[in-house]
Amino acid sequence: MAAAIEIQKLSKRYGDLLALDNIQLTIDTGEFFALLGPNGAGKTTLISILAGLTIASSGQAKIMGHDVVADYGQSRRKLGVVPQELVYDPFFTVRELLVIQSGYYGIRKNDAWIDEILYRLDLTRKADTNMRALSGGMKRRVLVAQALVHKPPVIILDEPTAGVDVELRQALWQFIKQLNRDGHTIVLTTHYLEEAEALCNRVAMLKQGKIVVLDSIRNLIKSIQGLTVQMRLSCEKLPAALQSWPTSSSEGFHYFKMENYPQIELLLAMLRQENIQVLEMQLQQPDLEEVFVKIMGAQSLETP
């Protein structure tokens, strides 16, 4: 069976800028995949090429075995994309828009499924409201709904939770997880790394158009050795005895890096010896964010 997404030697050049540099990536059917990277890394460009919105400079891409250029009719039928930009058609109501969108995919009677999507995205009450009269978060839900009208086996969401409130974010992920359980392949980009960590099984990290990491979340987190203990202490400056411990500090907290749990005791013993009290303490397990920061370098991490 063909992979959900197969990308081979794909590059995209905008003038002098190499937005995508020889991307090689295969995503299997049924995966829940995260595409991560700082602003401008090339995530949206890659998605646009898969969707046929952008034409690659070289290389090729396939959705469910269908080339996105040569066989665009089939590849687009298999793909649902939630665009990053909040776009909408002000002439129509939510339901009209979904009926029209279904028609573009050759689907005429789609009411049952449209009702289902509206319900799952909590849009039922807004079904007959004009797009103009929706809030930003609601418009984004409609974008999600539009991407799903044709029940695509592969769904790509480009920052679907930007500007969406907590409650809906939960509901949205429940829905997407359900779709994934039903066999849909999900690819998402997000700047909320804890989201990616909680949902996805594999990630690719992009940096300046190149894939710098491609692995399962589990392996990536395992790759970070040790843990960090965050403490507020009764003294501002660390005594000489502790200077050799790998630490950092910010905003009144000290961060002690260690390889394993037994070392905590060692640290506490040293602090006691120096007569320093621990005022606050927190254990930090390695997480995806730490992996990300390590790979991207703290400088290039931009807030969402």
Binding site: G52, L53, R76, V87, D89, F91, F92, G103, Y104, Y105
Partner: protein, 251 residues
Amino acid sequence: MIGFYTLFYKELLRFWKVSFQTLLAPILSSMLYLLIFSHVLETRIQVYQGVAYTTFLIPGLVMMTALQNAFANSSSSLIQSKISGNLVFILLSPLSYLEIFLAYVCASVVRAIIVGLGVYGATLMLFDTPMAHPLWALLFVFTGSLLLGSLGIIAGIWSDKFDQLAAFQNFIILPLTFLSGVFYSIHSLPAIWQHLSHLNPFFYIVDGLRYGFLGVSDISPYLSLSVVVLFSGAVSWLTLWMLKAGYKIRH
């Protein structure tokens, strides 16, 4: 087929929902042209033997209104979708470039025929408008609005901003329409202008429609039809090529 039909229907709905501006306003303004010009010129000008100036003017105005609206429909729809970004929903879909082309052009043609009929109908209330060959008339409105609908797609795709579209309209479409003999017969022009007018495709559309209404025209309707079909074909081909290449819409 459902894809084409849906986009076509959406385009119809788009202008229908604002029909006050898209249908009524152009009909009203061409009636104003008609009343003013006929009042001023009725007694002074006679273009064809036995044909009053107003009668001469009506088919020209019908055609001018139809052409302008055919152009306005596809071009404004496209540029609005491009600027607001919702063109993406069409681009993401499996609609072929041929389906996209046909949907936009057909919607333009429908709007052109509605306003054309509207102007014609309105004149019937005030004047004794003749209709010598209705099929010829329809044929020319159809092919003419096909040409302008196509040109509208080109302009909509080419323009990045509303003022570029306005420039296309004001510097290309408007002069070609006004110089096509809507208000005069080109036989009344100096020789050089007569020759130049023959290079204007819009001239053939207007002259052809006039044949449909009056049964007389400057040149043979068969020749006019051939020229219009040729032009429509060439412009359609160019439009299809642009859509296929994704010029300015798929980066």
